[in-house]
Symmetry: C2
Subunit: 202 residues, 2 copies
């Protein structure tokens, strides 16, 4: 995070003008992804659409890897702003909603899958940090929701919140992938099934 182009706007050694330009480029890059999906996402292809050279992108973001992470994060922030996740819904339901939201932005799910795959390589620090933090964060949020749900009697109490959280995230991501490869896979149904299984026995 000592590198000027590392992470958030805060960490850059510049002033408002540079940040504005950076945001401008990010906005344009997001439009590119939204319009054409996650393919052909080379620095040069993005730069051409944005109207700069690929070297300018490197200047602002440091590497393609970091640019892709920023694109995903900003895109996710926008979706959350436009269509906030309601309070007090179940973990499965909240994952279902965010999955459905992401699916409306064409390249987003591919980009996400690409980043997670890259995160498993040892020489992709930005992708690794992104995926690790995202998974840890979501699991923490979901686990808390599970605890609340258990206290309120909406979930069986004989199961561990952390395990449920990991399971729900895994199921959501994995079903998304299967559905993309074969739309006949009943993603919503399988998630609904999981929801049922987590309910207290009656």
């Amino acid at each position: 995070m000592t590198d000027p182009s590392a992470a958030g706007p805060r960490s850059r050694g510049s002033y408002a003008k540079g940040l504005a330009r950076r945001q401008e480029i990010l906005d344009a890059a997001i439009d590119v992804f939204a319009a054409r999906g996650a393919e052909r996402t080379s620095l040069r292809a993005i730069a051409e659409q944005v109207g700069v050279t690929h070297a300018a992108l490197i200047h602002h973001f440091g590497s393609l890897e970091r640019l892709l992470v920023e694109v995903y994060l900003e895109s996710a922030r926008r979706l959350e702003r436009e269509e906030p996740t309601p309070e007090g819904i179940s973990p499965v339901e909240s994952m279902r909603r965010s999955a459905q939201r992401n699916r409306r932005v064409p390249g987003m799910v591919q980009l996400y899958t690409t980043l997670v795959a890259a995160a498993l390589e040892s020489d992709r620090p930005a992708a690794t940090a992104f995926a690790s933090e995202r998974f840890a964060g979501i699991r923490a949020t979901l686990a808390e929701q599970v605890r609340e749900g258990q206290a309120a009697g909406r979930f069986r109490t004989d199961i561990g919140p952390e395990q449920v959280a990991a399971l729900v995230v895994a199921a959501s991501d994995g079903l998304q992938t299967q559905w993309l490869l074969d739309p006949s896979v009943d993603q919503v149904g399988a998630l609904a099934l999981l929801e049922t299984l987590l309910a207290p026995p009656r």
Copy 2:
């Protein structure tokens, strides 16, 4: 599948000698992956370790993408041969076993994840075919196991076998990824949890 280097040995217009050579190269390539993981997997890097030119790999496999698919498939066949999956185990248990088996070959899980991510891109026909067929095949197998289990009273009967199959595959793949990024994730525990949830209420 009309291309000489397309898929299995059968589809090549050659005789024993060519097939043997192809297999020899494949074996060497697998060793390379097993030894150094899935990174640095360019045609040239593999060719160097195997002791041929990268053009020879193209000759035998057609493209890097197809070579990677073949490496994964052959590697999986070997593991299955060395340590066959027992009969009559539950879907969750069979996924847990194969995951644990794959984990002993260092680059294998990364390679798998890479292939699945590539499969979502529209210009990766080999990866797409691989992933589609693998998911469909596993779902079919698991769904059948679920039906048998339901008949034998080992599973709740109020759930759809196909949905359960998709859910178990998703959970297994997704938990593997989370565990790789953070070994404190209780992969086995979460799968055991799923197993419990699928059992008939008592």
